[in-house]
């Protein structure tokens, strides 16, 4: 990396030793770019040109380039964004590589990729040496300015990254806006909602930045105020209809409010903005399927699957959704073919498990009851032996299969367990209720869900109640039992960490409790990054352990 102060004049940038890769499907454009680079002082032997995505990937595997100029629209095969995603995912380009996406015109797709797969910059053709030179300088200066911050973020040390942002905000006028935004993102990621809110209010007093309004909406969502979040997101989109992040959050908000039709409309607008997103097409298909719109579901799932063919970000759930849609259209044969494709394309135990559950349900629906029952029996045995890890999605599929094949008891026990693990997820509760209603257990089902929820609440809060009565040891025991029963319930884990910390606070440090609290907190952060209480408890614990080491040294 070369160090250039932000005010460097263009003559300071020496490109002679830098290597460039040009990716463009037009022969003429490749020539034009090579000419421009030579005029910028790049040596001819340091300029490599390729015509498509596959050639680009093999060049990137052979050599670390300083700069990549990649056309977004590469004709058939991978597009520029997919090349970038593959290069980043497989670490073919390092953090110092500059990736510039070139386009014929400004498309929404150009500014809608996921953050970790964003290029450093976009350039609209035609370009000339002055434009390229100025842009490279600017990007190198920015990379330098953010190097330490990004390093801390890479190590997930967000508190350090926030401090580094603050330090830089004191003097760096050029990057002020970007620093403010990064800092707010970091505060949100750590769950420091109050600090984030304060910052965002200050920023919004100056101007109605779309990203800042969206940040405020995120805070409202974290606090469970989805109605207010919805209003704010709709306001943001009135000002700036193409702000994709607001569309995505609006979809989430509608889902949390149980408004599927609203979620579908919001997602349709997001997809219009980014038609090449594997995940959004998959999500669109899933909501369409829930709404019973098989035609739209089919179209969206197929699009997601076909986009995934050229992409490292291909999505297994798109295949599952397509298989279900085929079955709903009584096209069982294709449904099973799609599941076969899924198994070929993904080498992952959990994905295969889910696919088998879905296959069982499809076999049942097309009359192969024996085969369906066989699969169901295997699942219930795995569950009895506790040899199976089920997340929300997989629990639903397995419960659906067991219910369909007549094993109500096991189906209900799976749903109850997952409700207890996840009592505050509205989307899961809706899906679970649907399965119970489909099985003709309407009232009984709702009763079951409510009871499971209540039991979970008692388990979650029992220990805290004991701690407030100063029964610290019992509190820890109660929370440990709760953790064993509900190992992925975030609130149980947080409360266990909390009662451990309270014990240390009241009774003095105890090494094994410190370790247990730290381990529990780190599980929370893996399961659900950015929980507000995670930060609070972690900070108290840090304060206590620092005090302890001070004591030791004295």
């Amino acid at each position: 990396m070369i160090g250039i102060p932000p005010t460097a004049s263009s003559s300071d940038l020496d490109l002679s030793g830098k290597s460039f890769l040009i990716i463009d499907d037009f022969y003429e454009i490749r020539n034009v770019f090579s000419d421009i680079l030579r005029k910028c002082g790049v040596r001819g032997r340091n300029i490599h040109v390729v015509a498509n995505g596959n050639e680009a990937i093999s060049s990137l595997k052979k050599k670390q380039y300083d700069v990549v100029l990649c056309d977004l629209n590469l004709g058939a095969g991978k597009n520029g964004q997919q090349v970038l995603e593959e290069a980043k995912l497989h670490s073919l380009v390092g953090p110092n590589c500059i990736w510039i996406m070139t386009t014929a015109d400004k498309t929404a797709e150009a500014v809608t990729g996921a953050a970790q797969y964003q290029p450093d910059s976009y350039l609209i053709k035609p370009i000339n040496e002055t434009i390229l030179h100025m842009r490279l300088e600017k990007i190198w200066a920015k990379k330098n300015a953010f190097a330490e911050i990004h390093e801390a973020m890479g190590k997930k040390d967000y508190q350090k990254a926030i401090k580094l942002c603050d330090k830089r905000l004191d003097f760096d006028i050029v990057n002020n806006a970007e620093l403010q935004r990064t800092k707010c993102d970091l505060l949100l990621r750590c769950g420091e909602l109050d600090r984030a809110s304060e910052q965002l209010d200050e920023i919004l007093a100056e101007r109605d930045y779309s990203w800042a309004m969206t940040g405020k909406a995120r805070i409202l969502m974290s606090n469970g105020d989805f109605s207010a979040a919805k209003v704010l997101l709709e306001d943001t989109l009135k000002e700036n209809p193409s702000f994709l992040e607001a569309h995505d959050l609006l979809v989430e908000t509608f889902q949390s409010l149980g408004d599927l039709a609203g979620a579908y409309n919001a997602l349709e607008r997001a997809v219009a903005l980014s038609p090449n997103s594997v995940v959004r097409q998959k999500n669109l298909g899933e909501i369409a399927l829930k709404l019973g719109n098989l035609e739209k579901a089919d179209k969206a799932f197929r699009k997601s699957v076909s986009l995934g063919e050229n992409s490292v970000l291909k999505n297994a759930d798109a295949y599952i959704g397509l298989a279900k849609t085929c079955t709903s259209n009584s096209n069982h044969e294709e449904a099973l073919i799609v599941l076969g494709e899924l198994n070929k394309n993904f080498n992952d135990k959990d994905i295969h498990l889910k696919a088998i559950a879905v296959e069982g349900t499809i076999q049942h629906q097309c009359g192969n009851t024996e085969r369906a029952k066989l699969i169901a029996r295997e699942f219930s045995e795995l569950i009895k032996k506790d040899e199976i890890g089920l997340d929300s999605e997989r629990s639903l599929e397995v419960a659906r299969l067991l219910m369909a094949t007549g094993d109500q008891e096991s189906a209900i026990s799976i749903l109850k367990q997952e409700i207890k693990n996840n009592p505050e997820s509205n989307t899961f509760l809706i899906d679970a209720t649907e399965i119970l209603c489909d099985a003709g257990m309407g009232d009984e089902g709702i009763n079951l869900i409510e009871t499971a929820g209540k039991e979970a609440m008692e388990l979650m809060n029992g220990g805290v109640l004991l701690a407030s009565k100063e029964k610290y040891e019992e509190a820890i025991d109660a929370m440990r039992n709760a953790r064993d029963a509900l190992p992925t319930n975030i609130r149980v884990l947080l409360n266990l960490a909390y009662v451990l910390v309270i014990y240390i606070q009241k009774k003095g440090p105890k090494q094994e409790y410190i370790v247990e609290a730290q381990e529990t907190l780190s599980i929370v952060n893996t399961l659900s990054p950015g929980e507000p209480r995670y930060v609070k408890i972690k900070n108290i614990l840090k304060g206590l352990t620092e005090k302890k080491t001070d004591g030791d040294t004295k």
């Binding site: 000419d35 014929a104 002055t130 600017k138 702000f243």
Partner: protein
Amino acid sequence: MKVAKSDIPPIPDIEIFLVSSVHDMKNSVAILISRLEKTLISADKDNFPEYDGFVQMNHEAKRINDKLMQLLTLYKMGQKVYPFDPQYVSIDEFFQTIASQNMDLLASQGIKLEIQTDPKLSGYFDEVLIYGVIANALNNASRHTLSHIYLSAKKNNGVLELCVEDNGKGFPEAILQESVDAIRNVDFQSGNTGLGLYFSALVARLHRKHGCSGEIKLENGGHLGGGCFTLSLP
């Protein structure tokens, strides 16, 4: 013997053809411009009799590029998919970009492009859109000026003002009137589509701050006594 009817089947979606063709044309024009510029820059003016002709071609190619960009942008805005993306932009750098694409060309036409700004000045806007507006204004000015174009920027009560002035005869009265409401004055019947002006007015209006929108203004007079185009951004 029956003769098959030669009915033209309904065209599925002409809009898609139009948009993808415009996109395609932009690619071609980009190559055209780059090639012309390469020729112009490496040419020895005195021993190249076609020089002025090439300059003219380059100028026309750029106009086509700018118009295609305006059309695509308007289409996307209509579909609510234009990625409006305002950022803080250094005006000095912004003007350098504009100069790099226009200075040589103007010089070859005997037109002096003078640029005036404070190096510390910055603005908050969508760079691609505002570039489109200023390029359009420069193009107009270069057709009507006698010899001199003045491009300047300043902040006035927190509002950024970008001005393109020339020493020609100034705007005719009809255009001055029209510009008062450029967005409503598009008249396809009379052939006065005023794409450039419409685009500029729309882009100005997209840039808002606390309820205030940007605007454009056409006047005569200014520093050089000719036409004076001002874009104000809150």
